[in-house]
Amino acid sequence: MKADFIINGRRESLEFDSRATLLEVLRNSGHREVKSGCENGECGVCTVLLDGIPVNSCMVLAASVIGREVTTIRGLTEDDDTGLSPVQEAFAEAGGIQCGFCTPAKVLVTYSLLSRNPQPSDEDIMNALDGNICRCTGYVKILDSVKLAAEKLKASGKESRKERGK
């Protein structure tokens, strides 16, 4: 089948099997920044934002979200001269990254969380990231990264765009 999606703010017309998942469609159309892991909704590495809300792209049939806005990690930086969003900077500075495979998903979930809740508690952060597994960092640094991201966004007055967060 053939249909339009809005990916990172740009309309893309894509051809795909009507049984394909959003993960398959994104990766087959060049969005390799979306990682493929368990393909079973358990690891969270394939997370993208669908109309600003985190979803496991491996658990979403692409045909069910045609015309909707999909944000991948690239969507956070494309209009930013520095190349990194404040959330990404925070993850790098606080050591919330080791191998980096799960990082795009975690950054997107953090971005979505801070859009709705600029000052999350530890519990809010753990709830938001409860489906994103990291096998390197042990999560403490990730918690630190989210808190640092909140501070950075507050300091810069550059809160995540409301229209993407919900």
Binding site: K2, D17, R19, G41, M59, D130, G131
Partner: protein, 327 residues
């Protein structure tokens, strides 16, 4: 190209068909043609129809454009929850008036953040997976369902009725579920190894009167609560596939629903004292609280943990009730 209500979507011959109804009035025809409703799709995405490219039925019809299924309302002590609402949306809606409602407790912990944003109430009821965090609370609440069939006729049924007789839901679309708005005096437990695991079993406990909305509508009477002959602890019980009869009096007691048991779930009516629960494994048979063996965990072990959690929940609720009385 297959027929589609959206001119921008092109579906080739031989592909799994997708239809995108804009109005509820389009649904009966799709049901009669054999299309399968698609809400969040988290169960359907793993079905043979999708994974093995097996051609069964006509395809899917997407529910996301049907506003009626996204409705949430609160009236006369009853919440009406649109079947297309996700777990996250239900938690957000109910939290505005009762942050301790049993559905908030259960659904805010279910699966993971990303999955809670996709799993819908209707899909979860229709499939009733063994790991469901929704089924236990809905049974304990004596929830009522509104269904739409392929002739356009609407009907209602109790949640247990729906779970026990799968033919009731065949070729029908769940429109909404009704639950009592007040259910904050409650206990919910999910047995998991890690936070984001699917539960091996769940325990939902509510004071007997909580499901009054459904009882008044015939829910409890319709589904029944069986007398356990010579019962040691639980005063009465009913389970998934087995029919049963009502005990009538439920004053001063609790409804305990355990999902994940043999036969999928077990509903018990327990007298107010937690000491009434069966203490020995051989007594458990009388309540039917038996579990299948799981990987790395025997049924006997799960049964023990479930009994501990039921006792803990009852003690907690008794304590809370005692504090309420002393004020």
């Amino acid at each position: 190209m297959n027929k589609s209500t959206d001119p921008e979507i092109h579906i080739e011959r031989g592909e799994l068909s997708w239809r995108y109804p804009q109005k509820l009035s389009e649904v009966p025809e799709l049901l009669s043609e054999g299309y399968i409703p698609h809400g969040g799709g988290t169960t359907l995405v793993k079905t043979p129809l999708v994974k093995s490219k097996v051609k069964r039925g006509r395809g899917f019809f997407d529910l996301s454009r049907l506003k009626e299924l996204k409705a949430f309302s609160l009236s006369g002590g009853t919440c009406t929850i649109g079947a297309g609402l996700t777990y996250a949306e239900v938690v957000t809606n109910i939290s505005t008036f009762d942050i301790n409602h049993i559905l908030v407790k259960a659904l805010s912990r279910a699966a993971s953040n990303a999955l809670r944003n996709r799993i819908t109430i209707g899909g979860s009821i229709a499939t009733f997976p063994v790991w469901s965090d929704l089924a236990g609370p809905l049974i304990a609440l004596n929830s009522r369902l509104k269904l739409l069939d392929s002739s356009g006729k609407e009907s209602t049924c109790g949640i247990e009725e729906y779970f026990k007789d799968r033919s009731i839901g065949r070729n029908k679309l769940i429109l909404y579920a009704e639950v009592p708005a007040s259910a904050s005096v409650s206990y919910y437990y999910r047995e998991v190894r890690t936070r984001f695991d699917y539960p091996l079993f769940t325990v939902s406990i509510l004071p007997s009167g909580t499901g009054g909305m459904a009882k008044a509508a015939g829910g409890a009477e319709a589904t029944g609560i069986a007398k356990a002959a010579g019962s040691v602890g639980a005063t009465a019980a009913t389970s998934g596939p087995v029919g049963s009869e009502s005990t009538g009096d439920s004053a001063g007691s609790y409804i305990v629903v355990v999902t994940g048991t043999r036969g999928k779930y077990r509903k018990l009516q327990v007298a107010s004292s937690a000491s009434n629960l069966p203490k020995q494994p051989d007594e458990t048979e009388k309540t039917g609280l038996q579990f299948p063996d799981r990987q790395g965990m025997s049924g006997e072990y799960l049964e023990h943990v479930a009994r501990v959690q039921i006792r803990r929940g009852l003690e907690m609720l008794e304590k809370a009730a005692g504090q309420g009385r002393s004020k």
